[in-house]
Symmetry: C2
Subunit: 375 residues, 2 copies
């Protein structure tokens, strides 16, 4: 299945990706504007289902890395990941045939589309996280054995860094993070590179479709004066964790990450309760009156209580009235090998046992509906 991206898709995708970003992944707003401009200029982006990709394709993941707090203050050119891609291609001595988002959550859902429009390459309908995560070794590419290197980074001046060989993805995370901080806190990346056969083994399928459907459901509910939150839950397979008002946010920029904690005072049925959410770019742990009710890798998503507009960690502030959605993680993030990398303990919460939220992740549902055997 191959489909062509429209402006309406981009509009919906920005909302869907914002929600799936679980507070992080960077605000999709600038990426949306840039992708829309490229489409208006007549450029085209095709989205390709994973099963359509030839075994010998050269698929490269592209996007941006850095703290979202910086992403909203320092506007990207938009072609940083393209510069990184070209540097990687030069190293490999071969041109990429397909792009794939590293994470469907936040700005990194949009950035590969702009690169695809510029480079005239198709984009895989899938990604490596099914959400957003703060660190790059936390994708299914790394978890399921795709070597992290060669890898490339580029900044707004097209300063270039190539990593021909590093021991593992965690090492790349450390090195690339240090370089990104030097690049002013924001960089475009191109890594990892993999074959089409490898991609099908490691990708979380249909997440671009999911994000578009999620955005369309929210927009449609708003137009029809229906409940956008119920619409979002239906598409994603999630449940409503809490409704409340943000009463405190403690946020700091540490080692290239936006870290912190927010507290919400319950409203409606949740009156009298308090929800506390810890985040590292993304929301990690939700505690209701001290009790853990959702934990990474499940998605903890703040949205506006009326419109379901996503609320990201870098803009969350006192007084916002929000709904907190709990969305089950993709099956590929719930295996023991994945939980070792993206479970609570991997973020330092060694005392939090991961209790999966009920339900099926929307992308997994789409894969089942389409009868895709991609894994």
């Amino acid at each position: 299945m191959v489909w062509e991206l429209t402006e309406a898709h981009v509009e919906a995708l920005a909302i869907g990706a914002g929600i799936l970003g679980t507070g992080g992944g960077g605000n999709p707003y600038y990426g949306k504007l840039y992708a829309r401009r490229l489409l208006r200029e007549g450029r085209r982006v095709c989205i390709v289902a994973p099963e359509e990709v030839p075994d010998d394709a050269l698929v490269v993941s592209v996007g941006g890395m850095g703290a979202p707090t910086i992403g909203i203050e320092r506007i990207h050119r938009g072609d940083e990941p393209l510069a990184a891609l070209r540097a990687l291609e030069q190293y490999l001595g071969r041109r990429a045939t397909h792009l794939v988002p590293g994470e469907i959550g936040g700005a990194n859902a949009l950035r590969p589309l702009a690169v695809a429009a510029l480079a005239e390459l198709p984009v895989i309908d899938g990604d490596g996280m099914g959400r957003a995560f703060p660190e790059l070794q936390m994708d299914t590419f790394a978890i399921y054995g795709i070597p992290a290197t060669p890898a490339a980074l580029a900044d707004i001046e097209h300063n270039l860094v190539v990593f021909p060989y590093l021991r593992d993805a965690l090492t790349l995370e450390r090195y690339a993070r240090a370089v990104t901080v030097q690049m002013g806190g924001a960089a475009g990346f191109a890594f990892p590179a993999m074959s089409g056969a490898e991609l099908r083994r490691v990708v979380i399928p249909y997440t671009i479709s999911l994000a578009v459907q999620l955005g369309e459901a929210v927009l449609s509910a708003r137009r029809e004066h229906a409940d956008p939150i119920a619409a979002a839950l239906a598409v994603t397979g999630g449940c409503l964790l809490f409704r409340g008002k943000v009463i405190d946010v403690e946020r700091r920029l540490a080692a290239g990450f936006a870290r912190g904690t927010m507290r919400l005072e319950g409203l409606g049925d949740d009156r009298g309760s308090e929800l506390r959410i810890d985040f590292q770019n993304e929301n990690l742990i939700a505690r209701r009156d001290g009790q853990v009710i959702a934990a990474v890798p499940d998605l903890i998503c703040l949205v506006d209580q009326e419109t379901a507009e996503p609320v990201t960690t870098e803009v969350v502030r006192y007084g916002l009235r929000v709904a907190v959605l709990g969305i089950p993680a993709p099956a590929m993030l719930r295996t023991p090998e994945a939980l070792a990398v993206v479970g609570p303990a991997a973020f330092g919460y060694v005392d939090v046992e991961y209790q999966p939220l009920p339900g099926i992740y929307g992308g997994d549902r789409l894969a089942a509906e389409r009868g895709a055997a991609t894994q």
Copy 2:
């Protein structure tokens, strides 16, 4: 003029490079052992005068970067710069024909010799500093316009980082320093690459010869019960700034550098006076009773008061009795364009005016003696 390096040269070079390191550049001891072992295994190293290098040669500067404090605790493999060289060569699509030390001061005088022995490449008799400096944009290669990139770094596990393009040497310094910290505080480097014609324009000539002669003079004076300090001054063109006892050292590891201040209480003719030396890996400013008597780029070198054995900033400690030598900087470091990069203000001492020490730097004297027109 081409000469072959002997074990005796290596022994002398380690002392000479230690003195020219002005307290930094890393302790040459491990590098000496490694180079000596390679020579004993039958490997050979040829030293080539700059004027012998063909115009179309591909000359690459190699060495190590990191804080000397780490260099003495974490032993190098020795072939890290070779791994970086190979990565750079792969990027360039061309093999190096010659190596050149980035700095003749400290460990980086020895490291290129080991790489040369392993790679079977000749080494240029010269370097980019004529001493040691803490930051890599502070060499004559960068000051006189050789592009900083492409550049490569490798660590003890041969993790590799290539910088295909960065805006300038200061940017490379920032990026490479950040990567070096991630590499555990020590990395081998290969950069910049230049042609033989470019090398002759930017190299500080005859500094390997100078370091060997300096070491030989000290060793010979020790054997003959003459004054090793007077011998060192004669070869380098320096003067005796102070004799004293170290009474205080304040040292900290900050952002990958060993920074601090030491105080010396005068002995002999200097009794009653105090010398204070500020350092950032290397000794930068010497103040006698509050009055600046020597400043970077002139060389401020601590040596043992009896043996003239160099005393580096990472081993200097309370109670050591030392002589402080003031050696005039190479002419190429005293131009306005060089002083903008390596003068006191470049290290934050905006209130210190550079007053050149009298005399002629030993390498410049050798160049004049040999009638070399290398610049």
